[in-house]
């Protein structure tokens, strides 16, 4: 173990994997160190809803035995990971942050979990999230909020706040998130970590409890760009069990992360994603990153995407419409909560009581919003128009990518806000996703990575990179280059400045 002794949890996945491959440390030791860290800090952070202590140690020992047998091992073998509680794992509670699924143990693995297991990654537990991934703060979890390790009074982003907090609290070097409107990228931004939403169809949705099926996409979360690339490669690729899974080779994200070079690239600044409404420290750190990218040899130009200003409105019609339909399955009949079944009530009454008791306020809001948008008389004006806006946004992206290789913007308009500040103010909560939503509507790929700390509050700022569909590798080319240049300037990665807790 030598120089890594006692410090295992602060290492990135690549370093841990190399140490395990060299026989300097076992997966059991690495896993135990992370479980100990969880035991020490998670009471305060609350990143996890369920910790798989015995199962993780057992998996780690199995990986160690496999390695000892001389079997070929993948690049992340033995590395621990935190799994968002929206993906099924056989026999392990999957709540989606909701009372309606409390205690439910799925009888099957999601494809993401199957691939993690196939790569000998050790799953530490299930992470907290806004209920059914509806939210930007993880305050809408039925099991209480997760706290931001940078400031425990603040939100860790959402919906994947458990996964982002687990990374920033050094409880896991890798995590899985899902991104419907920014649920991987905005949590990454406010916790000083890296998160990637792959191209829609790039990672299988089989076993992902659906929020909005045309927007949802699982993706990798990590503390470095290269770690995210390695995890991306593990989980991506065609899956016959997801009809929207893309039948094409996975872009070579790992090679791109290693190449980390922007020389000769054309980078577009999205005019509509900046300026007023963005916190000053966010704009400042973003501008500095733009300068760095220029210095590294990229050509940076301003690009206009005029219909992006309608993206938020379109999203909050399309998402609730799809969600109200997807969440109809939670009817208390086949799995999960059933309320008020006293032998006299009808199935409809029991359903209504079950859903009333099982869903939290944001879920109810969005179900009713979607029910309204889809109802006859309103369908054309609301849902129909939103689908047209979706076309316009896709066209804006296509036109922009004729001029540039990637687009960049701040990931979120502000740094982490205080817990409770926006929880019953849906519109101001929805504005957190203003820069991340266009990508989900168009289905292309995007990454958030740290751009520094805002001077006014000392909290992390995220920079978003957007690439055309199936050009996910470009995210890693740019992200890797910017990460290295910033680390060079600071003398370390931003995450090193996170509080020790």
């Amino acid at each position: 173990m030598s120089q890594m002794d006692g410090d295992l949890v602060r290492q990135d996945a690549v370093t841990l994997a190399a140490a395990m491959a060299a026989g300097e440390v076992s997966s059991e030791e690495v896993t135990r160190a992370h479980l100990d860290r969880i035991a020490a800090v998670d009471e305060r952070v609350h990143a996890f809803l369920h910790v798989l202590t015995d199962e993780a140690l057992e998996s780690a020992r199995a990986v160690d035995r496999k390695r000892a047998s001389g079997a070929p091992m993948g690049p992340l073998a033995g590395v621990p990971l935190a799994l968002k509680d929206v993906l099924t794992m056989t026999g392990v509670p999957t709540t989606c942050g909701s009372r309606v699924l409390e205690g439910w143990r799925p009888p099957y693995d999601s494809t993401v979990v199957e691939r993690l297991r196939g790569s000998d990654i050790v799953i530490l537990g299930k992470t907290n999230m806004d209920e059914f991934a509806m939210g930007s703060s993880t305050e809408h979890s039925a099991y209480g909020p997760t706290r931001n390790p940078w400031d425990l009074e603040r939100i860790p982003g959402g919906s994947g706040g458990g996964s982002s907090a687990a990374l920033a609290a050094f409880e896991a070097p890798l995590a899985i998130g899902t991104d419907t409107g920014g649920s991987i990228r905005q949590p990454a931004a406010v916790t000083g970590t890296v998160g990637v939403k792959p191209t829609y169809g790039g990672v299988s949705r089989y076993g992902l409890v659906a929020l909005a099926s045309s927007l949802d996409q699982p993706g990798p979360c990590a503390r470095t760009v290269l770690d995210a690339a390695l995890l991306h490669e593990v989980i991506a690729g065609h899956d016959p069990r997801d009809t929207t899974s893309i039948q094409a080779p996975v872009p070579d994200v790992v090679a791109a992360a290693r190449q980390a070079d922007v020389r000769g690239m054309r980078i577009g600044l999205v005019k509509e994603l900046g300026g007023d409404g963005y916190q000053s420290g966010v704009s400042q750190r973003f501008a500095e990153s733009v300068e760095i990218l220029t210095g590294l040899g990229a050509e940076v130009v301003e690009v206009s995407c005029p219909n992006f200003e309608y993206a938020l409105a379109a999203y909050y019609l399309i998402l609730p419409s799809e969600a109200s339909s997807n969440l109809a399955r939670f009817d208390g009949m086949r799995f999960g909560l059933r309320e008020g079944d006293d032998g006299s009530r009808s199935v409809e009454e029991v359903m209504a009581l079950t859903r009333e008791a099982g869903f939290g306020p944001e879920v109810k809001r969005r179900i009713m919003l979607g029910t309204y948008a889809l109802s006859s008389g309103y369908y054309d004006a609301y849902y129909g128009s939103a689908q047209k806006v979706r076309t316009l946004i896709t066209r804006d992206f296509a036109a922009a990518f004729e001029q540039v290789d990637v687009l960049i913007s701040p990931t979120a308009p502000t740094t982490a806000f205080r817990i409770g500040e926006k929880v019953d103010d849906p519109i101001s909560m929805y504005l957190n996703d203003i820069a991340t939503i266009p990508v989900n509507l168009a289905g292309n790929a995007a990454m958030s990575l740290p751009a520094g700390l805002a001077p006014e509050d000392g909290l992390p700022v995220g920079l978003q990179i957007m690439a055309p569909p199936m050009k996910d590798d470009r995210l890693y080319l740019v992200g890797g280059a910017l990460e290295a240049a910033l680390a060079d300037r600071w003398g370390h990665l931003l995450i090193e400045e996170a509080p020790q807790l």
Binding site: R105, P107, Y200, G201, S214, L215, P240, T243, T244, I246, N307, Y310, A313, A314, Y316, L317, S324, A328, D331, M333, R334, F335, G336, R338, D341, G343, S346, V347, E349, A352, R355, E356, F359, P361, K364, R365, I367, M368, L369, T371, Y372, S375, A381, Y382, G384, S385, A386, Q387, K388, V389, R390, T391, L392, T394, P426, I427, L441, G443, N444, P469
Partner: protein, 98 residues
């Protein structure tokens, strides 16, 4: 695009099978109104000539060979069921009394 009334919220809640309390109806009526007013602007740019997009990638029918595959394990499914009787899901009565 008129404002949303409490009666409409109650109607939506019925359609969505949500047994809302009185307080919730009042609260959601206000909030849904604000949200709907802010999302209604999608119609400003949704011209007749613009085709709708339902999905970010072209959706095509996907076929597989018709080969039997094992389904879910029945015991595991039963373990997750809220009520179970005679090897089946037990559900409340499905017909109204009148």
């Amino acid at each position: 695009m008129t404002s949303i009334t409490r009666e409409e919220v109650e109607h939506l809640a019925r359609l969505a099978r949500l047994q809302l309390s009185e307080d919730e109806v009042a609260h959601y009526a206000d909030q849904l109104d604000v949200i709907l007013q802010s999302v209604a602007r999608v119609s400003e740019v949704a011209g007749e000539d613009i085709p709708p997009t339902s999905h970010p990638i072209p959706v095509v029918n996907v076929f597989r060979d018709d080969v039997a595959r094992p389904g879910l394990d029945r015991d595991a499914v039963q373990a997750g069921a809220p009520a179970w009787q005679d090897d089946r899901f037990r559900v409340p009565r499905i017909l109204d009394e009148e």
